[in-house]
Amino acid sequence: MLDEEGEVFKEVFSYFPARRRYLIRLLQTVQQKLGYLSEDAMKEVALHLGISEAETFGVATFYNQFRFVPLGKHHIVVCMGTACHTMGGQLVLDGFERELDVKVGGITPDHEYSLERVGCIGCCTKAPVVLINNIIHPKMTPYKVAEVFAGLRDKGSKSSEEHQE
């Protein structure tokens, strides 16, 4: 376990008493701090609450909000809601998978890009939509995928810092 992670756990566990009913809130808070649920994170949470590791993993995998790989510097979220799906969201997602050579839910080895899919983001008029570090890229096409990457590389990591919440 990294020292920083250990610090995070210490802090988070100090807010939540060791009661079973805090399991989900604990996982949420740890994920907020680390960006994902690491193996150690789930182990520590299980230990803190006195419940089994298998059960902690089971609960975490039940919810879509939990992720088990870290976020990339650029976190790409492809909308697969009804509108975006009918407007070719799958092709866009395929495009990103091809371009990055990662599967949805994964991260590139250099930790630059992570790829995720979600249900409706709430701006269906701009379908199909892709969200990169919370910036909306409207009316996407597979051809625009490369363009988007060119833009990201130009701005470097600046955009990601500016727009992170």
């Binding site: 298998a54 059960e55 089971g58 995998t61 039940f62």
Partner: protein, 216 residues
């Protein structure tokens, strides 16, 4: 406590669940997920439906007996619901009985015949993802493809043995029993007691030994 099942007088102690009282009295009720020693029934398989006069249909593994209760195991509603529940289990089950290590004492097959249900063709519109069986443990194999998610193995491992190796993970069609992070059982806190294998009603958990004997 006195009550009746299908018109037959039955005695049971207070708090006993209808299912066990019936089985003790020699009345058959299909069941795949119930464990007698378990404090709370899981109620997952939905095969054990019975009808209580004036109350309606209940799962008999979760419902305690009541004084003067009139229970029926063979009403039309009970039959229909049980059959449907069985069809739903079968729709998700690879019927590889010929090569299955559980062949001969499979509880799923037993109740399927009891209920006179056929494997449904139309309840599973798209194919199921095939998962790799976990053969890492020297004593037994976990083949998640045949698991009917009855939860019995989880209960014994957790509540009886207290080894906490398995639990349900993921959801919907992807739900399965899993170790922490889906690691091989050999890398889990498993103590090799084999209790989970003994309670598995199907061929999802089986001893390697038996398999070898069969092949010889």
């Amino acid at each position: 406590m006195d009550f009746s099942i299908d018109g037959k007088k039955v005695k049971a102690k207070k708090g006993e669940k209808i299912l066990w009282a019936a089985l003790d009295a020699g009345i058959e009720i299909p069941h795949l997920c119930a464990i007698r020693e378990a404090e709370n029934a899981w109620g997952a398989c939905r095969l054990c439906f019975v009808e209580i006069e004036g109350r309606g249909v209940v799962t008999s593994c979760t419902e305690p007996v009541g004084e003067g209760m009139m229970v029926h195991t063979d009403t039309e509603r009970v039959q229909r619901l049980r059959k449907r529940a069985m069809e739903l289990i079968l729709a998700d089950h690879p019927m590889e009985c010929k090569t299955c290590p559980k062949r001969g004492d499979c509880e799923l097959l037993k109740w399927m015949k009891f209920l006179k249900v056929k494997v449904p063709k139309n309840l599973r519109p798209f194919p199921k993802e095939r998962l790799e069986p976990d053969e890492s443990h020297p004593l037994f194999v976990l083949d998640p493809n045949k698991c009917i998610l009855c939860g019995k193995c989880i209960w014994v491992c957790k509540e009886k043995i207290r080894a906490d190796v398995l639990d349900f993970a993921y959801r919907g069609y992807n739900m399965r029993i899993s170790t922490f992070l889906g690691k091989p059982i050999a890398q889990s806190p498993c103590i090799g007691c084999g209790e989970c294998v003994k309670v598995c009603p199907v061929g999802a958990l089986y001893f390697k030994d038996k398999e070898e004997i069969k092949e010889v």
